[in-house]
Each structure stands twice: as C-alpha cells, then as structure tokens.
C-alpha cells in the first residue's frame, strides 16, 4: 500500500497548466480586464495615442506603488493605513529640498528620502511588534503623524524638483507628455524585483508564511516580528516611490493631499488584485493592473460624460461587483477542491 500521495504521472502538462490557471487565473483575468478597458476607452475618446497612454500610465504610477506597499504588508498578515500619508510626506519633502538642485544632488536626496521612509515605516512595524497593538490602530496614528509632518516640512503648496527627475517618472520635463516608456520602466523594475523577492527568496517567502500561518511559520524558524518590520520597511520604500511619482506629475509638493483616501484606494486595489485581507495570499503582479483599473475608472466615466458625483457612486458599485465576482470564483474553486 502506498499513501494517497498525489504523484504526477501522465498528463503532467495538462495538470500543470490547469494548476497554473487555477493559481494565477485571477492575475491573468485582471490584466485582461485592464486591456479590455483600455481598448474600450480608446473608442470613447476622439484620439487615443501616446499622449493619452502616457497620461493614464503616469497618473496610475502612484496608485500602483501604493497598492504594492499595501500588498506587501497585507500579505504578511498586517495592514498599513499610513501608506497614503507616506506618499504625502515624501512628496513634500522631495519638493521642499529638491527645488533648484542639480540632478546629481536630487538623485542622492531621492535615495536618502527612500531610505528614511523605509526606516521610519519599519519603525512603525517594530512598534506594532513590540506593543502588540493591532496594526490598524498604530498605522492610523502613523497616517496622522505623516500627514502632520508633511505640513511641518512644507506648510503650503510649493517647492519643486528638476525637469530631468520629472522625466524619469513621467517621460516629460514638465510632467505631461506623450512618452509612456520611462513610467513603464519605473513601474516594471521595482515590481519585478519585489515579485522575485517575495516568490523566490527565504526572506520574501517569510511574508507569506507569517501571513498564512503564524504558528507554522514560527515552528519553521521564521521570526514573525522581524518579518513584519521588513514588510513595513518595504512599504515605506514604495510609499516614497509613490511620493516621487506624485511630485513629478504636479511639479510641486502639496501637503494638504488627503493621505487617507489614497490609503483606502490602495486597499481597494489590492482587494481587486486578489490579495486576501487575511494575509498569506496574493501577488504584487496582479496589484499593478488592479491599481490601474481603479485609477482608470475616472477617465472612463468622464469620457462617458457621467456627472462626477454620480461617477463616485458608480465607482463604488463597480468595486463591489468586481469583488462579488471574485467571491463567486473563489467559492466555486473551493467547492471543486
């Protein structure tokens, strides 16, 4: 007698393929949905070319980065309400100190701001680990703190950054142009790095381990406190990237930006992207199109001529609908297995 061990014999290819679809079906579906929406949008507006593509991708960059920041923390079983505040704080810090500096200095500053964001947010993760106070409470605090610090750094809209720095995130020295490629590269590189880290390395997989089963993770030698700190630090990095993107588009820092709304958008994005709010499940690869779709709702609804007030209601309904479809699919999957 051998055990009921699932050994792979014949039809290996089919099974591997079916499993791949089962596991990554949602990611593929969200990417397809994004492309369908783009195709549809292109028929709604009179002209669809480099400028329109660039506007959408550039505008979505910050949403994508915030989505990834949130995804990293949520996959590790946490929640960071502060990510939106981190965008505001890093963007005004950048605007305040980069204004009028040569590119070399600006790049060094960007690196310093990113490191500082990682350290500060990692410290928030450390507080959560040590105090055992739920994430939602501590990070509500960090959201307010970041928002307040932003006003201390830059009391009112102002500052700026150099044209070449803006080009990195927008493909144009004045934040709006028709070259989408720099923004695409700026999105793809960090996404690939973080996806590789989370899926292949011991430290990255620890995020999934802690989010999935804390006890089993602990017994496997994963240190959950350290893992949470790392997750929050990575979220800080992506918060800073989102901040740079934001300041590159507008060309100024705006300390009155509402970080709370940005945070909630990021939560919506990861949920649409198939990240389980209970932790342990999800992929940053799916968060990219999900954040884009969320960002994309507005241009589509305005192209359709929907009144902006109504547009918000429709946006809310659409999010709920997408999630219901996800729920039905998940339910069917569980019934099958």
């Amino acid at each position: 007698m051998t055990a009921a061990a699932p050994t792979v014999e014949s039809r290996e290819g089919t099974r591997a393929w079916r499993r791949w679809i089962q596991r990554h079906g949602w990611t593929v579906g969200i990417w397809l949905l994004l492309f369908v929406l783009v195709a549809w949008y292109s028929t709604l507006i009179p002209r669809f070319g480099g400028f329109q593509t660039s506007t959408i991708i550039t505008g979505g960059t910050a949403w994508i980065f915030l989505g990834i920041a949130q995804a990293v923390v949520v996959i590790a079983g946490g929640l960071d309400l502060g990510v939106g505040g981190m965008l505001v704080l890093t963007s005004v810090t950048a605007a305040q100190f980069m204004d009028g500096q040569p590119l070399g200095v600006i790049v060094v500053m960007a690196i310093c701001i990113t490191i500082a964001a990682a350290v500060i947010n990692g410290f928030v993760g450390w507080i959560i680990t040590v105090s055992k106070v739920p994430d939602i409470v501590i990070t509500l605090g960090s959201l307010y703190i970041y928002q307040g610090l932003a006003l201390m750094v830059l009391p009112k809209v102002g500052g700026g950054t150099s044209g070449s720095f803006r080009w990195i995130f927008t493909g144009s020295e004045n934040g709006i142009g028709s070259n989408p490629w720099p923004a695409i590269v700026v999105i793809i590189i960090p996404v690939i790095v973080v996806a590789w880290w989370m899926g292949r390395t011991r430290s990255g997989l620890s995020l999934y381990a802690v989010g999935s089963d804390k006890t089993a993770a602990f017994l496997s030698g994963v240190r959950d406190g350290r893992t949470k700190i790392v997750a929050f630090a990575v979220a800080g990095v992506f918060g800073a990237l989102a901040g740079f993107s934001s300041v590159s588009i507008s060309g100024v820092g705006n300390p009155t930006t509402d970080g709370g709304t940005l945070t909630l958008n990021a939560v919506a994005a990861i949920v649409i992207g198939g990240v389980a709010l209970t932790g342990g499940i999800g992929s940053v690869i799916a968060v990219v199109p999900a954040a884009m779709i969320l960002f994309f709702f507005n241009p589509i609804l305005s192209a359709l001529g929907v009144d902006p007030n109504r547009a918000q209601v429709i946006q809310g309904i659409l999010i709920v609908l997408v999630m219901m479809i996800a729920g039905v699919l998940e339910w069917r999957r569980q019934r099958r297995s």
């Binding site: 007698m1 051998t2 055990a3 009921a4 061990a5 699932p6 050994t7 792979v8 014999e9 591997a16 499993r19 596991r23 899926g199 292949r200 390395t201 011991r202 997989l205 620890s206 999934y208 381990a209 989010g211 999935s212 089963d213 006890t215 089993a216 993770a217 602990f218 017994l219 496997s220 030698g221 994963v222 240190r223 342990g280 499940i281 297995s337």
Partner: protein, 498 residues
C-alpha cells in the same frame, strides 16, 4: 550542569509553569548517540511542554540542557535547529498557502535535500508545486519528517508522528528511524502506541506529573509494565489497557431496535462510492479504514458539511437535506471532528465551549437559563475535565480538549453522535474514559458512529464494525469477534480470512 558529556542531549531539572498550572516540575533526561529514546507519559504529564522547550518554541523557567556536553538555551526554534535538534510536531509545521518547494525554501532547503528521504518513505516523484493545503495530512507529516531529516540534526524529536499514518507508512518511518540510528544519530520518540514503542525504541523515560519518574531499557519489557509505569501502580490496576470496564458494557443490539440513521447508496465525487448502512438505537457502530479511503468525505456528508451527489441520508425515517452542519445538528446529528482545533474556540473558556450548542436558540443569546448552567457544570464533572486551565481551552492538554468537544453535545439531546478518530494522540486513561462515555451515550438510547484508525480499540467500544476501502464498505462483522488481523486484511481491500 548536566553530567553526561557523551550524551547527544542531556537535561537537568527542566521546569515550566503556565500561570498557576505547573506543566513540568523537574525533568532529567539523557539521550545517547545511536539511541531511540521513548518519552512516555499519560496526558498532561508534560511531554509536549518538554518537547516544545527543546525545540525552542517556549523557554523553560528553570533547568539546563546540553548537546554533546555543550550547554544550550534556545530562544527561538531556529536556535534549536542550529544546535542540531530537529522536531516533527503533532501538527505539521508547513505553511498552507505556500507550495512545498516554497516551504522548503523557508527552511533553507532545496527539494534535492529531502528527495532521498522521501524516496525511503515511498513518496518519490512527488509534486513539489502543490500547495501544502492541498496535500493530505499523512503525506504532510512524512514531508515534515523528511524536512527534519534533511536538516541533518544530531537529535530528531518525533511527537506522535504515527498518529495520522497508515500502518504501512508507519513501518516506513520505523525503517528510516533504524537507518538514522545506524548513522549513530539519536531520536526522541513520543507515541501513545505502546506496541510501536516496544518494537522500535531502546530506552524509555517516563514522565508523570511533570517529573521523570522512571528510566529503563526496554529489553524484555511488556506493555502492561509500561502502562503501570505511566499511570502509577494504583491507577494501573484499576484500568488496565487490555480490559477497560467499557468492555463489559458492550451490549448486543437486537435486530429489532429502530433504525435511527440509514445511509442509502451514498455517492460523493468519486470518493464515496455507494455506501449503505443502518445504525440502530443504542448501537455503537465502528468504522475503520486506511488513510484516504473516503472516510473523511463520508463523515462530511453525514455531518451536513457537504451534500451527497446521489443517495440519501435518512434520519428517523425522514430524509435529511442538510444545507450546513446547523441543519444536521438541529435534526440531532452531531459531529466530533478529529481535529480538535477545528471544533473549539481556543481563547474561550471551557464553560463557553461546552455551552455553544445552546446558543443555537436566539432566546439564549441573552444568557443561559439556570438549569442549563447546571448542565454545563454537570458535563465538566462527568467528563472529569481538568479545570485548572478552564479560562482558555487552548491551555488544556489534548485529551482534555477532546473531552470538551464531546462534552458539548452532552448538554443537549441528540440522536446520533458521529466521532471521527476521537482518541487520536490521547493517553490510555483518557481513552478509557471516552470509551465509557460513548457506551453510556448508547445505553441512554442514542446511536454512535465512530471512525477509528486504531484497530484494537474497535472491540473495546463497538457493537459492530464496518471496514471501508476505496469509498465502499467491504467488510462487516460483530466487533466482539473482530481481530486486528481480520480488520487490517479487510482494510487493505483483501478478502477477509474469517
């Protein structure tokens, strides 16, 4: 400092308390190289706590441990691993949402490290892309074992490794242990199955009430002697393993008793293939099978967790169409799952866990009636639940937790009690108590269906036994005449000799 420099592991005066509950008073133990050392003890003797301390999961309050004479003090599981102790816990320490490959990466291993060991466990060609959650429990335990071996530890600790395994899988594990021993490595082996302890282990240390009370070579020792050592002389004479008093209670249920539960040609997703049986009032019906023969699915149908593809479950003459366990429970069909974690609310008190079924009625959301409170107390008393840690069920020992899962159904009336491997990983004394309880339940007019993977407990508690193989019932006989050999033969799908 422990004074056995040659020993792979030596401990001295290890002690641990959880608040007022003393789990370990003082444990001295030495495991020599090339030795398979049994750690035995009744429930709550402190075995699990001892293992957790040596695995770095919890820290001792007092006492010292040394590996090869070097003192060690573990703060984390990774410290224990670095020092050369690898542990296979009762619950597999694999991350459910990660693939097996990724689980190995977490432990700093690659599949090529575990493959040689998996081959010996007859799991060659294993698909490492599977998520751990989709792998059967028995297979997970073997993978966990292979992972522990691949870490190349000096000491391997196995906590009830055979509990979820089929007899043939257990034999493979024993072969691996012998090979390990031949490499001059050591094993600390914890099991309630004394037969396997005697066949595989060299030396035993007995824990009782948090102390090591005996340490002896197992040459020429028999099961009764082990039981005596574990229970202490006084208790052992009262409840010997081979003859619990429940055996006297086994009644022969006449053919004329009413059928309470009738399964009529049940089918379910190719796992249950045409199962029919009758369960009569006052009867304890046993069911046994090797791992993965459809018994899990059969119980999920009966308990209302899933609906059969075809076939009917008839309770008191009326077909049951349960949409959820709630419907089954309302009809009087209650279920005690094997996984006690699944059934309990670990952070709530014993009383709350027992009273849960009462909250089915909305009116009781505002508080229990007085007689119900009394019934809860009565259940605690009757089950002999250790209430020292009653404020949180998660602090109870495994046996006491199982008593709580059974006890909650005693609060309200029911028709059929479904038990899935209720004595898995539980000590003999508690087992005997559970047998008595099941007999008592049947004597009071309910019917009991019990699945057990431990063949020898079937004649102790059942009236009649069914054997399942490949989703069908292949064998039926009165439990009194059911020998282990006959059941095992049938369970392998072979023609029974009798």
């Amino acid at each position: 400092m422990p004074d056995r420099p040659t020993a792979t592991l030596s401990t001295e005066g290890i002690a641990k308390s959880y608040g007022p509950v003393v789990a370990l008073r003082s444990v001295d133990l030495a495991v020599e190289p090339g030795e398979i050392h049994a750690l035995l003890g009744a429930n709550g003797a402190g075995k699990s706590t001892f293992v957790k301390i040596l695995a770095g999961v919890i820290r001792q309050d007092a006492g010292a441990a040394a590996i090869n004479g070097h003192p060690v003090n573990f703060k984390l599981p990774s410290d224990a691993a670095h020092a050369g102790i690898a542990t296979v816990f009762q619950d597999p320490a694999l991350i459910p949402d990660l693939s097996l490959d990724q689980n190995l990466t977490i432990s700093g291993l690659h599949r090529s490290d575990v493959e040689p060991w998996l081959e010996r466990l007859h799991l060659s060609g294993f698909d490492f892309g599977l998520l751990a959650r989709d792998v059967p429990l028995a297979t997970l335990r073997l993978i966990d074992l292979a992972r522990a071996l691949a870490l190349d530890p000096k000491l391997l600790m196995l906590d009830e490794i055979t509990a979820a395994l089929t007899p043939d899988q257990a034999d493979l594990v024993f072969d691996v242990m012998r090979e390990w021993k031949g490499m001059n490595r050591s094993v600390l082996f914890i099991s309630h199955r004394l037969g396997e302890v005697l066949s595989i282990c060299d030396v035993a240390t007995i824990l009782r009430n948090g102390r090591d009370v005996a340490n002896f070579s197992l040459d020429g020792v028999d099961e009764t002697e082990l039981v005596k050592a574990m229970l202490g002389e006084a208790l052992a004479t009262g409840a010997p393993v081979s003859d619990p008093k429940s055996a006297e209670l086994v009644s022969s249920v006449s053919e004329s008793s009413d059928v309470v539960l009738r399964a009529d040609d049940l089918h379910f997703r190719g796992k249950v293939n045409g199962i029919s049986f009758d369960l009569r009032r006052g009867e304890v019906l046993g069911l046994t099978a090797l791992e993965g023969q459809g018994q899990d699915e059969l119980f999920s149908l009966l308990s209302g967790d899933h609906k059969p593809t075809t076939g009917e479950i008839i309770l008191n003459g009326v077909a049951m169409s349960a949409k959820s366990p709630y419907d089954a429970i309302r009809r009087g069909m209650v279920f005690v799952p094997a996984d006690r974690q699944e059934a309990l609310f670990p952070q709530r008190s014993v009383r709350e866990n027992l009273a849960i079924p009462l909250y089915n009625r909305f009116i009781r959301w505002f508080g229990l009636q007085r007689d119900e409170g009394r019934r809860v107390d009565e259940a605690i008393r009757r089950l002999d639940i250790d209430t020292r840690a009653a404020s949180e069920v998660q602090r109870l020992s495994g046996g006491n937790r199982q008593k709580v899962t059974i006890g909650r159904w005693l609060i309200e009336d029911f028709e059929v009690l479904l038990c899935f491997d209720p004595t898995r990983g539980i000590d003999i004394q508690t087992k005997a108590q559970i047998y008595d309880l099941l007999r008592e339940v049947a004597a009071n007019g309910a019917a009991v269906l019990i699945y057990s993977s431990e063949l020898r407990e079937i004649p102790l508690v059942c009236d009649r036994v069914l054997v399942m193989y490949d989703g069908a019932i292949v064998h039926e006989q009165p439990a009194a005449t059911a020998t282990e050999e006959a059941l095992l033969t049938a369970a392998h799908g072979l023609e029974a000799a009798s």
